[in-house]
Symmetry: C2
Subunit: 346 residues, 2 copies
DNA sequence: TCGTTTAACTTTATCGGTGACTTCATCTCT
DNA sequence: AGAGATGAAGTCACCGATAAAGTTAAACGA
């Protein structure tokens, strides 16, 4: 059904290879034949068979993306940005969602390796680095997104999580919060970095977190952390000294926390100011619009895609490269305790 | 680098074909050699080269998905469900986002056709059916998701939008709303069906929509419709007779509408009850929790994936099949005007 | 004038599998 | 014992492209 090089070649009395060369803009083709061939290709709406091309070139013109959760707007936005960027360069994107499950993630990675994708982009839910050795064994290049591993020297694109933590915590300090708590995330680099940033920001004012004021987001079934945030905030409110500001690991957990605070009859931000992270798009429609640290997910996606494309084009391995995006504080009602002046507005 | 059939064949003193037969569970292989081959395959972590296999079988074991917007939770959920389902059967999924732009969508479809995906799943942003003829010419089967075309006889999986409209409108009627308005969506099947359902529900009580009470969601830049919903609701509130209930095309537009209503100093649901559609997961955290018609997006995804897999397995064309999911009303505060009794709770 | 370039193609081999046939030894049945 | 059936391999051609090397004729330089 679909046209092949051979069809075009036969019709024009050329060899398959000549037509193939036209297709790939090879120099040693005369202007005349080039035009004839291109014309016929257009007429037939010729599309090269990528399976055949892959077989001989060893490249699939396909990238693989693994995210923990496609429903999480942060990852959805990254996926969208990557997809848009790769498309421009003729690459397609296989997307899979690991449901935050390391084993499932490994399966997904195996699939991508079996498909011989040119580069794997991955926001990993792994706790160990074993599976990356598996990827390296297959000599498939990969780029970590959002989440890093301290003992793994690999390409990385993401936000500077320490800066995130400092930004959020400093903002709360500026809002005259004096007892700032932190609802921390699971044991991955993002959560660790944000916690560290939180500590550093406090330390720079000579403050140490009060006992019980750093609390872990339980893994109570929901990935995104709404329930976990609710539970964690309830515990915080029951602490000996009640916090007057909370920096939450991400926006969903902040939503949960806000609900717990409101349920307890407290006011946001007067009694407790809340800051999240991720700046998810629906923030404006909440009971109390949520202040949040924007991670520039779109920029992360674009940057990761560009890096991956660069890697895909080179056959030789390149030295691991780390690209940090800078976070941005977006202040909304949940943390704006002063009409103006003190609170930054962007 | 990666192991090939030939490597295994040489090592075991067999022919490539024999090994290939083992791989595909061909019957005429003795138990002994089968075991020897499988053992070696496992040791080498052999992965068949899908490009080679595709080249000869003409099948890619890949499905393509085109959605208008990956960031919209409705489509993200569908994408996730499809991905999960196809993975189980060894198929991969190429996902692309058309940004609700018909031209971009056509480009994406071309890409998928060029890649010779086995089936295309598409929630289309087209206004004409031309591009589906293009797909048919390539003899690539496709499944429409969510959005249909009246004059196109194709596979379809989605919700019964007329039922959606009736469900939402009947619910508002039950809540004693007597002046129910509708913020309708763009000119695609979903919006048309929901509008029709709205009309039918009113008609069944002998009511006709008041003038100016059916209003169109403008296309003011944002795809999801938050701004559009805001503008539309402002107009509704300025109508000669102010509505006391609004059924919104989707949840984002309902969010916008709610904001307009609250901004106007009115109460939800006492002054105006609001119902959306889509039942997006963050509904519980809104200023006023939003009642919404659940379309069962996960079920749609699963069903669409199953249908696509069935089609992929058959070589012969199958008769177009339409699968309707039934919508479900989820009542929350935005439309619960009576403490109990009248308002259904699920 | 003759060897050397150069432009513009063509030939040949190959990528890693699969499908359709063929071979050959063993087994079964009359 | 010989014909046909069966089981367990192997042969060969081919899928649709690309890489590398080879061919041919015109152009060029000394």
């Amino acid at each position: 059904m679909a046209a092949r090089l051979k069809d075009i070649a036969d019709e024009l009395g050329l060899s398959v290879v000549t037509v193939s060369k036209v297709l790939r803009d090879h120099p040693d083709i005369s202007e005349g034949t080039r035009k004839r061939v291109l014309k016929r290709m257009r007429e037939l709406n010729y599309q090269p068979n990528l399976a055949a091309r892959s077989l001989v070139t060893g490249r699939t013109w396909t990238l693989g993306l693994v995210v923990p959760d496609l429903l999480h707007p942060f990852f959805a936005e990254i996926a969208k940005a990557i997809s848009a960027q790769t498309r421009k360069h003729g690459y397609s994107l296989l997307i899979s969602s690991s449901d935050e499950d390391p084993d499932l993630e490994i399966q997904e990675i195996r699939q991508l390796l079996a498909r011989r994708v040119d580069v794997i982009l991955i926001a990993s839910a792994q706790s160990s680095v074993d599976c990356f050795q598996m990827i390296e064994e297959q000599k498939t290049p990969y780029v970590l997104i959002d989440r890093r591993f301290a003992d793994l020297d690999a390409h990385f694109v993401g936000v500077d999580d320490e800066a995130v933590g400092m930004l959020a915590t400093s903002h709360l300090l500026e809002q005259q919060c004096s007892r700032i708590a932190h609802i921390r995330g699971p044991n991955v680099s993002t959560a660790i970095g944000r916690l560290e940033g939180y500590r550093l920001a406090l330390a720079s004012r000579g403050i140490a977190p009060l006992p019980g004021h750093v609390i872990s987001l339980g893994t109570s079934g929901d990935h995104r952390g709404e329930k976990g945030g609710y539970e964690a905030a309830k515990q915080l409110l029951a602490a000996e000294i009640r916090p007057d500001g909370v920096f939450c690991f991400n926006d969903p957990s902040a939503l949960g926390a806000m609900r717990a605070i409101l349920d307890a009859g407290l006011r946001i931000p007067e009694d407790v100011a809340v800051v999240g992270c991720g700046n998810l798009s629906y923030s404006d429609f909440l009971r109390v619009p949520l202040s949040s640290v924007d991670q520039g997910s779109e920029a992360i996606g674009k940057c990761a895609a560009d890096l991956a494309l660069r890697i895909a084009r080179k056959k030789t391995q390149t030295r691991p490269k780390t690209e940090f995006m800078s976070p941005r504080m977006v202040v909304r009602a949940s943390s704006r305790r002063f009409a103006d002046g003190l609170g930054k507005t962007s």
